[in-house]
Amino acid sequence: MPLKTSLRDLVEGAESLVYVEDLSNKKGLLQSINPLVKLAITLFMISASLFVPSLSYLALMCVIPIVLSLASKIPLRALLTRTALIPFFAAVISLPILFITSGAPALNANFGLFNLTVTIEGIQRFLIFTVRVWFCVASLTLLILSMGFTAFLKMLASIRVPSIVIQLFSLTYRYLFVSIHEIQKVLIAKEARTYINRHTINLESLRHSGALLATIFIRTYERSERVYMAMKSRGFDVNNTNKSSIPPLRKKDLLFVASTTVIFGLLVVL
């Protein structure tokens, strides 16, 4: 049942949004840093990693996200599970690199007809790519985990993103839940009166799926119109231009910037 699997994805996705909020409420190092500073530092760390050509430096750099995560009371497990997927794919797609890079052979396997040779240079290119991707993903994940949605909106406001765009952000975030609930309702309704599942795929069943999709869409749209009415009647206004103040830079933020730069500097000099 493809519909069910994708529904589970949806619900889990929504759930993890709530999870983001949870960690951002903890009182740790990153949570106390000005969001704008965090963003700048994250961007700096990611960009810097692109210029580092050496595997050992990259590996050393990976200590930074781990230390930051510990200092921010973000469970290491949360960080590791959230950063597993993308580096894994990076690894998978660069597997061929192990074999097609020319250089000194490190491993040799003979499968009768095939003769596969893994080269040292190949291993190096493979690892550099994967480790760098992990470092980037981990840095971004820390930023995400330590910043709730509200803080994120404030940060957007402080970098002068137009208020209408920010209102659209918050509307989207709300509607995400609204549409998930509406889809859930439709599926429950269908489930409750479906006694015999037919698994064949034919023109008829495709037509039914299309009709279901259409109903879900129009229903969700009409629900969101009414939710919009409710939001409006309690003060929501897309064109509302109340400027939120830029959170001031404090000593702590500056200290954080300084220490990260120093650590990076040391790494590069070494």
Binding site: K185, V186, L187, A189, T194, Y195, A214, T215, E222
Partner: protein
């Protein structure tokens, strides 16, 4: 043969968020009964209903419907003998037109097309929604939606009919005709379970009442007994009907012995009372 159609045994249930909705509930519903679930908001009535329909499965304990556990694999098939109306009509309706929605269940059961048509036409006129036939269900008034969702269950002619708050949002004439329809079905042998806050309709809706509160069973008994049991009603956060209130007053004054629960009985009682009164004083 055992005539318990639903057996709920020590059932516990909690929602994913960690909310403990049911903390060990047991009761039975016999074939042909009319039973009402009563209890304050959030007491677990709807949860019980979803569990009985096999749409949720108990954490602990077990539920058997038609002698089959609701967790068993063949329960989906068994559900065709059971009709359910959700509290929220939006949980019930999912197609593009009222008629399609009503016919979905029977079609899924492979009932021959002419009979499907006949049944749906009959139910449309019975519920009084012929004029809505081709409208999309999500664009109806709330009460109209509720009526359509009642129709989608009634059209299945199930042996066991479970209705969550069926009279809420209905206008009074529709409420009356719904009650009559349910009683007719019950006379023909359908077992009817309703959850309701509508104590005024209770005497006509149910013979027996099961009271839940905070996920536990508080008590059960014949409707007329429960309606007069002000202690039980109080604990369950309920109120007697206005007729019962009126006559309870007369009872505390020693004017009458037993309290009538319907308007008709009330009338009779009053007339009697006046007569005896007149007689006694003359």
């Amino acid at each position: 043969m055992d005539d318990a159609i639903v057996k709920v045994k020590e059932v516990q249930f909690s929602y994913p968020g960690g909310v403990n909705a049911l903390r060990g509930v047991s009761f039975e519903i016999r074939r042909g009964e009319k039973v009402a679930l009563l209890g304050p908001n959030g007491s677990g009535k709807s949860t019980l209903i979803l569990l009985m329909a096999g749409l949720l499965t108990p954490k602990k304990g077990e539920i058997t419907v038609f002698d089959e556990k609701t967790t068993s694999k063949n329960f989906q098939k068994l559900r065709q003998r059971l009709g359910i109306v959700f509290q929220d009509p939006d949980d019930q309706l999912f197609t593009q037109s009222v008629i399609e929605d009503i016919e979905y269940g029977p079609r899924n059961l492979k009932i021959p097309e002419p009979e499907v048509k006949e049944r749906s036409a009959h139910i449309l006129s019975k519920i009084g929604i012929q004029h809505l036939e081709n409208r999309p269900p999500h664009r109806l008034s709330f009460g109209e939606k509720k009526k359509v969702s009642l129709a989608t269950a009634l059209v299945l002619k199930p042996e066991l009919l479970i209705l969550d708050e069926p009279t809420a949002n209905l206008d009074l004439v529709s409420r009356r005709s719904l009650i009559d329809t349910l009683n007719e079905l019950n006379c023909e042998g359908t077992t009817v379970v309703v959850s309701t806050h509508d104590v005024e309709a209770l005497p006509e809706l149910a013979d027996r009442v099961i009271v839940v509160s905070h996920g536990s069973l508080l008590g059960e008994g014949a409707t007329s007994d429960v309606l007069q049991d002000s202690k039980l009603l109080d604990v369950a956060g309920l109120e007697p009907t206005s007729i019962v209130k009126l006559f309870l007053k007369l009872k505390t004054m020693g004017l009458i012995q037993d309290v009538p629960i319907t308007v008709k009985d009330g009338e009779k009682k009053l007339l009697e009372l006046m007569k005896t009164k007149t007689e006694r004083t003359t």
